[in-house]
């Protein structure tokens, strides 16, 4: 390994990088903003996917048993529901158990001791073999005597998934736009650097430097701008994760955000790759144009 060569090369990259500090700062800032947006978008997508998946899993028909129903009636109801071939499972949840479960879920979010008594009815939780069968099963169950009411959240789930889809498309559009902007800014920065160093480049060409040798420092410069931008973005996202996220979780108690995994650590690698790639591609194009000219 020729360390002298490496030192010369890195020295050239660093010298050029610091020489155009103003423009580099603009490029880095744009990459950082783009990646923060990307990070936020990835999170929102993960959250919606998580919620959607959870809610789809939870498409259970909740059939409330009439208050005056006897144990024998409950047993009969259970048998007749379970006999339906469209039904995958049926579970009887007495109101005491239901109330205990709910209190456990809301622990730390709502003070349930303020609610007097047990507001919940006894319910059957019924799962259909296929989500499409849910409405017809619900209708059949509702007709059974001893069932007070039947609820299922299918419409909400469908709306949620639709909303997620729309958000995803808008998000992709915005991100693509920002990456184009970041790419153009980096390319222009590099082009200015190339212009400022045209004398040096012409001398390099005169003494027989290959295009790779001429191109490489600029490419590294673009790569560096992209990576520094990504680093800045990761720091911003990390701070947001530590400060804003806990507040969001406690503010939106009815959305089970706790269960949504927002692991910044897993994303860091991807964000760096993306930042670096934007810088690399943009500078490659910018220098390539000059060398061809």
């Amino acid at each position: 390994m020729d360390w002298g060569k490496v030192k010369f090369f890195l020295g050239e990259v660093l010298r050029n990088f610091t020489r155009n500090a103003g423009m580099q700062a603009t490029a880095i800032g744009t990459v950082a903003i783009t990646i923060v947006l990307l990070g936020t978008f990835l999170f929102i997508r993960a959250a919606l996917a998580g919620l959607g998946g959870q809610l789809l899993d939870q498409i259970t028909i909740s059939a409330a048993v009439a208050n005056n129903a006897s144990n024998a009636q409950v047993a009969t109801l259970r048998r007749s529901i379970a006999a339906d071939p469209r039904v995958a499972s049926v579970e009887y949840v007495p109101k005491e158990k239901g109330w205990a479960d709910l209190r456990r879920r809301l622990r730390g979010q709502i003070d349930t001791t303020l609610i007097p008594g047990n507001p919940l009815p006894d319910v059957f939780r019924i799962r259909a073999r296929h989500p499409e069968a849910v409405p017809s099963v619900a209708t059949s169950v509702a007709r059974l005597s001893g069932i007070a009411s039947v609820r299922y959240g299918h419409a909400e789930v469908a709306r949620l998934l639709q909303l997620g889809d729309v958000l995803r498309r808008i998000g992709v559009g915005v991100i693509v736009l920002f990456f184009c902007v970041a790419g153009i800014i980096i390319a222009n920065t590099i082009r200015l650097t190339v212009f400022a160093r045209r004398r040096e480049i012409s001398i390099m060409q005169l003494v027989g430097a290959t295009n790779f040798y001429i191109r490489a420092p600029f490419i590294c410069e673009g790569l560096l701008a992209g990576l520094v931008g990504a680093l800045l973005a990761v720091v911003i996202l990390g701070v947001a994760r530590a400060t804003i996220w806990p507040k969001l979780v406690s503010a939106l108690v009815f959305i089970p955000l706790n269960s949504v995994s927002f692991q910044l650590g897993q994303m860091v690698g991807e964000l760096f790759v993306i930042g670096g790639a934007v810088g690399l591609i943009a500078s490659w194009i910018a220098v390539g144009r000059h060398l061809r000219a």
């Binding site: 004398r199 003494v207 040798y213």
Partner: protein
Amino acid sequence: MLSLRNVSLVYPNGVHALDHVNLEIAKGEFVFLVGDSGTGKSSMLRLLYREARPTSGEITVDGIRVDRLRRNRIAALRRHLGVVFQDFKLLVDKTVWENVAFAMQVTGAHTRDVMRQVPRVLDLVGLAHKSRMYPGELSGGEQQRSAIARALVNNPKILLCDEPTGNLDPVNSNEIMELLSRINLKGTTVVVATHNQSVVDRMRRRVVRLEEGRVSTDEERGYYYLGLGQGQVLSG
């Protein structure tokens, strides 16, 4: 070593820089290209180091058909050549040593070779003691010697000089020409495009005169003006 056969160069603006030029330069020769401004001296050099491509004709440099050379082979050609300009083309933010080393470093030379070769050429051009100085701290002659050192550092077989004394006073001009002579004695083919009548007349080398893009005269041990030394022109 260098050969131009029926070479013409027409610039996109329609100017005919060279018109069916034929010229052979042998290995180890020292040749002056002389002529008024715009007669095609610089254009001929530009063709030789493939800064320009001929409109027609064949150009061979050290066995390489330069007129047919693909873009990605230009760098390899230029490693066979050293090029020196009137305005030196030194990098002002690098020292003499760094300027010379730069020519090796950007061609991927090993640091060991750079450390060995740079002091050698700086010594040859008489600048070893000023290697840490920046171009702005040097005289014109010293800057040109730095540029020559840079042109020589990759051991080229051919040295092309475009008005190397154009910015220099007579004393420095003579020193540069003596340096080029010494380099030539070591076996390097030297081609100098110049306006400088006194150095041409003093050196008495081969003189190729260009007029309107054509070779008008070609003399062994010639003068700037055909058959006439400087003294004769002045007295005549």
